[in-house]
C-alpha cells in the first residue's frame, strides 16, 4: 500500500504531471465557481485535448477538474445565492444567510476546511476500504434505494419552519417537477406537452439557478439604492477565519457529512448532489437550534460541503473496483480511460498501477493545492461583495443565462430558469421555504423509479421488503423521524 502510494507520488513528480494536477485543480475551481458549467460539461469539453496527453496525464488532469469543482461551487452559493454547482445548491440556504450577516468569510473558510478534511478522508477511504465497500454498492438494490430515498424525504418534516401545510405543498410540487419527462419504467412522456426539451426532465441547473439565483436578483432590486452593497463584507482580510464558536459547531457536522457523503457517493445514481442534500437534512434534524437553519446556521454549510467532497471521492470506488461509473462525471472519466485504451476495474491495479496510484496521489496533492489556493482567495473573493449592486446584478444575470444555456445547449432551459426565478420570488414573498421543494425534486425520481423496479422484480409483492434488512432499517429510520417531528412540534407548541 505505502509502496503503491510512493509509486504514485513518483509518477506525479514529473513536471508535466505536477502542472497538469495544478491546472486541473485551478480549472475545476473556475468551473465550479461559474454556475451551469458543471464538471461534466468541462470534462467533455476537454476530452479532445486530453487525447494529446498520455493516459496518466490525461486522467490526472480530468480528476483534478472533478474534485476542484467541489471546492469552487461554494463560492457563488455563499456570495450571491447562485449555486455554482448542483452539489452546492443546499449551501445557498444557509451560506448566503451567513454572508448577509457579514459571515461570508467564515462560511467560505469553513467550507474550504471541511472540504479539505472530507476530501482527504475520502481518498483514504478509497485506498483502504475499496474492496469491502464495493460489496456494499452491489448489495444496494431497488428496495434499498427506495427505502433510503424515503428516509431522506421524511427529513422534510423538519423543514417545516413555515408551517406544515406550506412545507408539504412545496415538497409535493418538488416531487411533481421531478416526475416531468419520460417515465422511468414505461417510457411514456409525462407533462412534456410536446416540448422535446422536457422529454429528459427538468434539469437541476435551470431549477436551482432560477429558484435561488434569479429570484434573489429580483429581491436585490427591491433593496433601496442607498444600501446597494449587496452584503456586509467582513472587516479585515482575515475575515475568512471562522470564530471559535463557529469552528466548534462545525466539527460534528463535518465528521457526519464526511461519512454520509462518502457512503452516498458510492452508490450508482447517487453522488455528491444527493449527499449534500441528505447531510443538510440530517444536520437540521440533529441541530440543537434547528430554528437557525435557513437563517445562517454554520452547520448547514459545514455538513453539506464536507458531504459533497467526500461523495466526490467515494464515487471513485465503484469506478476503480467494478468499472462502474456512479454518476455522469465518472462516466465521462470512464470514457476518457477507454479512449486511452485503459479498461477501468479491478484489473487496473495489476495492469496499469501507475494510473491507479497516480490518480490516488494526485487526489492527495490536489486537495492540498486546493486548500492553499482557496483560503487566501476567500479574503479576496469576499471583497467582491463591495461591488455596487447595479454592476453585480447585471453580471449575475449574464453568467446565469450563459451557464444555464451551456448545460444542455437549450434556449428553452433559459426560459425555464427565468420562470423558476419568478416562481421563487412569489413563493418567498408568500413565506414558503424552497428547501423542501428542491430536496423532494432531487430525491423523488429515484424513489419512484426504485420502488417500481422493486415491484417489477417481486411481481407486485410488497412483502419482499421484509427480507431486506438494510431497506427495513431505512424505513424504520423514516418512521422514527416522522414521529419525532410530530412530537417535537407538539412540544414546541406547548412551550409557546
Amino acid at each position: 500500500m505505502m509502496d503503491g502510494l510512493l509509486h504514485g507520488f513518483a509518477v506525479l513528480s514529473t513536471w508535466q504531471n505536477l502542472s497538469l494536477c495544478l491546472l486541473g485543480a485551478v480549472l475545476g475551481t473556475v468551473v465550479g465557481v461559474l454556475p451551469g458549467l458543471g464538471p461534466a460539461t468541462t470534462i467533455a469539453l476537454l476530452l479532445p485535448i486530453t487525447l494529446k496527453l498520455d493516459p496518466t496525464g490525461a486522467i490526472i488532469l480530468l480528476a483534478g477538474i472533478y474534485y476542484g469543482v467541489a471546492y469552487g461551487g461554494t463560492l457563488t452559493s455563499v456570495l450571491m445565492r447562485i449555486p455554482g454547482e448542483a452539489s452546492s445548491v443546499v449551501t445557498c440556504l444557509d451560506g448566503y444567510e451567513m454572508a448577509r450577516k457579514g459571515r461570508a468569510g467564515a462560511a467560505l473558510g469553513i467550507a474550504a476546511l471541511g472540504s479539505f478534511f472530507a476530501g482527504t478522508v475520502g481518498i483514504l477511504g478509497v485506498m483502504l476500504l475499496s474492496p469491502p465497500l464495493a460489496e456494499l454498492v452491489i448489495a444496494f438494490g431497488p428496495w434499498e434505494y427506495a427505502a433510503l430515498m424515503l428516509a431522506g424525504l421524511s427529513l422534510i418534516a423538519f423543514f417545516a419552519a413555515s408551517g406544515l401545510a406550506k412545507a408539504a405543498l412545496m415538497a409535493l410540487l418538488g416531487l411533481l417537477l421531478g416526475s416531468v419527462g419520460i417515465d422511468p419504467i414505461a417510457g411514456t412522456p409525462r407533462f412534456t406537452f410536446g416540448i422535446p426539451e422536457l422529454v429528459d426532465g427538468i434539469n437541476i441547473t435551470p431549477l436551482a439557478l432560477g429558484l435561488f439565483g434569479l429570484s434573489e436578483l429580483l429581491f436585490l432590486a427591491l433593496v433601496p439604492a442607498a444600501k446597494s452593497e449587496i452584503l456586509r463584507p467582513p472587516a479585515s482580510l482575515l475575515g475568512f477565519l471562522p470564530s471559535r464558536e463557529e469552528a466548534r459547531r462545525s466539527v460534528a457536522p463535518v465528521l457526519r457529512g464526511t461519512g454520509l457523503g462518502f457512503l452516498v457517493g458510492l452508490l450508482p445514481g447517487g453522488g455528491a448532489v444527493l449527499a449534500s442534500f441528505l447531510s443538510y437534512a440530517v444536520e437540521k434534524r440533529l441541530a440543537r437550534r434547528p430554528q437557525e437553519f435557513g437563517r445562517g446556521a454554520v452547520e448547514g454549510v459545514a455538513g453539506p460541503e464536507a458531504a459533497n467532497n467526500a461523495g466526490t471521492a467515494g464515487a471513485f470506488i465503484p469506478l476503480l473496483t467494478l468499472g462502474i461509473p456512479a454518476n455522469a462525471v465518472t462516466a465521462l472519466l470512464l470514457g476518457a480511460l477507454l479512449i486511452h485504451g485503459v479498461q477501468p476495474g479491478p484489473m487496473i491495479l495489476e495492469r496499469q498501477p501507475e494510473i491507479y496510484w497516480g490518480v490516488i496521489a494526485s487526489m492527495y496533492l490536489g486537495n492540498v493545492l486546493l486548500l492553499v489556493l482557496n483560503l487566501p482567495l476567500v479574503g479576496l473573493f469576499v471583497r467582491a461583495l463591495e461591488i455596487p449592486r447595479r454592476f453585480m446584478a447585471a453580471a449575475i444575470l449574464s453568467i446565469c443565462v450563459i451557464g444555464v444555456y451551456s448545460t444542455n445547449l437549450a434556449s428553452f432551459d433559459v426560459l425555464l430558469a427565468v420562470g423558476f426565478g419568478l416562481l421563487g420570488f412569489v413563493l418567498r414573498r408568500g413565506g414558503f421555504d424552497l428547501g423542501p421543494l428542491v430536496l423532494a425534486y432531487v430525491l423523488g425520481p429515484t424513489f419512484e423509479r426504485s420502488l417500481r423496479q422493486g415491484l417489477l422484480i417481486s411481481d407486485g409483492d410488497l412483502t419482499e421488503l421484509l427480507h431486506r434488512p438494510i431497506a427495513l432499517g431505512f424505513i424504520a429510520a423514516a418512521v422514527l423521524t416522522l414521529l419525532a417531528a410530530v412530537l417535537l412540534r407538539n412540544r414546541a407548541r406547548v412551550a409557546d
Binding site: A40, I43, A44, L45, L47, P48, V137, I138, A139, F140, G141, P142, I182, P184, I185, A186, G187, T188, P189, G194, P196, E197, V199, D200, P268, G269, P318, L322, G323, I324, P325, A326, A331, L332, L334, G335, A336, L338, I339, G341, Q343, P344, G345, P346, M347, N408, L409, A410, R449, Q453, L456, I457, D459
Partner: protein, 316 residues
C-alpha cells in the same frame, strides 16, 4: 454569410494536400450533429470518423452535440436544417426506429437522406458468478419454469429478450434501469437474474470474474470471449442490433450525396477508427446508405408491434 464562408474555407483549403478539391463540393466546413452528449461511445466514435473524413473531404468536419429527448433532439435539428449537405447528423435505431413509437416526434424516416453507417453495437447476455446458470440453455430452462428478471436500459435490448422468450416459451421480466452501469450493478448484486447490455459496462465485471457471459446477442461473437456462442449459433433466431450512421436532411442533391457516401465509406475503412471502436466495444461496419435506410425502416416497422405488445408504445 459569404465572407464567413471564405474565411472558414480558406485555411482548410491551404492545409489540404488536394488543392484541386477546393474548387468542387464541399467548399466549407461540414457540421455533424451528434444526438448524445460528449464523451460517450457515439460521440467518441463519431469524432474519430469525422477526423478521417476531414482528410478525405478536404474541409473541416465539426462535431456538435445536441443531446436530449432520448436521442430525438439531434435528428430533429437535422431534419430542420437546410439540405445543402453541410449539416449532417448521426443516429441509431433509438432515434429513428424506436423513439417514434414512444414519443411525439416531428420527423419520420422520410424526413432524411440516409448516408452510410459505420459502427455496430455488440450485445451480450450475462448472469452473476454466483448464479446457478452456466449456459444460456440453463437460463432459458429456468425462465420456462418461472418468471426470470433481467436488467437493461431499454429497447432494443429488452425487445431481444422478449423475442427470445416468445420463441422458446419462457417468461423474461424486463426491469428498466437508467444506465447500463446501474443494470450491471443490479445483476452483480443478484437483484435481477440476468442482464443484457454492451461491452463497456460489462467487460470490467466479466474480466474480474464477477459476471458470466452466457451468449452474445449480436450477429457475431465478442472478440474478448471467442468461446461464448451467439444466440443464433445456439439455435435461437434472435439478433439484437443497433448501429451508428449518418443522416442528412431530405433533399440533398445527388452529386453531394455521392461525395459524402464515398468519403464516409472510405473513412470507415481506416484502422485508426477500428481501434477506437474496439475500445468502446463496437464493431466497425461498412453499411452503405441504402442498406442503412432499409435496416432503419425495417426495424421501425418491426419494433412498433413489439413495443405495443410489451406495453411500452405510445397510446394513440
Amino acid at each position: 454569410m459569404q465572407r464567413r464562408t471564405l474565411l472558414a474555407a480558406a485555411p482548410a483549403a491551404l492545409l489540404t494536400p488536394r488543392l484541386a478539391r477546393a474548387a468542387t463540393w464541399p467548399e466549407r466546413e461540414i457540421t455533424v450533429i451528434v444526438q448524445y452528449g460528449p464523451g460517450g461511445s457515439t460521440d467518441v466514435s463519431t469524432r474519430a470518423i469525422a477526423a478521417e473524413a476531414e482528410k478525405i473531404l478536404g474541409v473541416p468536419v465539426q462535431v456538435v452535440n445536441r443531446p436530449g429527448g432520448q436521442g430525438t433532439v439531434g435528428p430533429q435539428q437535422v431534419a430542420a436544417a437546410r439540405p445543402d449537405g453541410y449539416t449532417l447528423g448521426t443516429t441509431g435505431l433509438a432515434g429513428l426506429a424506436i423513439a417514434p413509437h414512444m414519443l411525439d416526434v416531428p420527423y419520420t424516416s422520410d424526413s432524411f437522406t440516409f448516408l452510410p453507417a459505420f459502427a455496430r453495437y455488440l450485445y451480450g447476455i450475462a448472469v452473476r458468478a454466483e448464479s446457478p446458470h452456466k449456459t444460456i440453455e440453463e437460463l432459458i430452462a429456468a425462465a420456462r419454469e418461472k418468471r426470470t428478471t433481467f436488467g437493461a436500459t431499454g429497447a432494443p435490448n429488452n425487445i431481444g429478450m422478449f423475442e427470445l422468450g416468445r420463441k422458446v416459451g419462457a417468461r423474461f421480466q424486463f426491469v428498466p434501469f437508467g444506465s447500463g452501469a446501474e443494470a450491471v450493478t443490479a445483476a452483480l448484486g443478484g437483484h435481477v437474474e440476468a442482464v443484457i447490455q454492451n461491452p463497456p459496462e460489462m467487460l470490467p465485471a466479466l474480466q474480474s470474474g464477477r459476471l458470466r457471459l452466457l451468449a452474445s446477442a449480436s450477429a457475431g461473437r465478442w472478440k474478448e470471449y471467442p468461446d461464448v456462442p451467439t444466440l443464433r449459433e445456439r439455435g435461437h433466431d434472435v439478433v439484437v442490433d443497433s448501429m451508428i450512421g449518418f443522416i442528412a436532411p431530405k433533399g440533398v442533391p445527388e452529386e453531394r450525396r455521392a461525395v459524402l457516401n464515398r468519403a464516409f465509406l472510405e473513412a470507415a475503412r481506416k484502422p485508426a477508427l477500428a481501434e477506437i471502436l474496439g475500445r468502446f466495444g463496437m464493431v466497425p461496419t461498412l453499411m452503405p446508405a441504402d442498406e442503412f435506410e432499409r435496416t432503419v425502416r425495417a426495424a421501425h416497422d418491426r419494433f412498433g408491434p413489439e413495443l405495443r405488445e410489451a406495453g411500452l408504445a405510445r397510446k394513440r
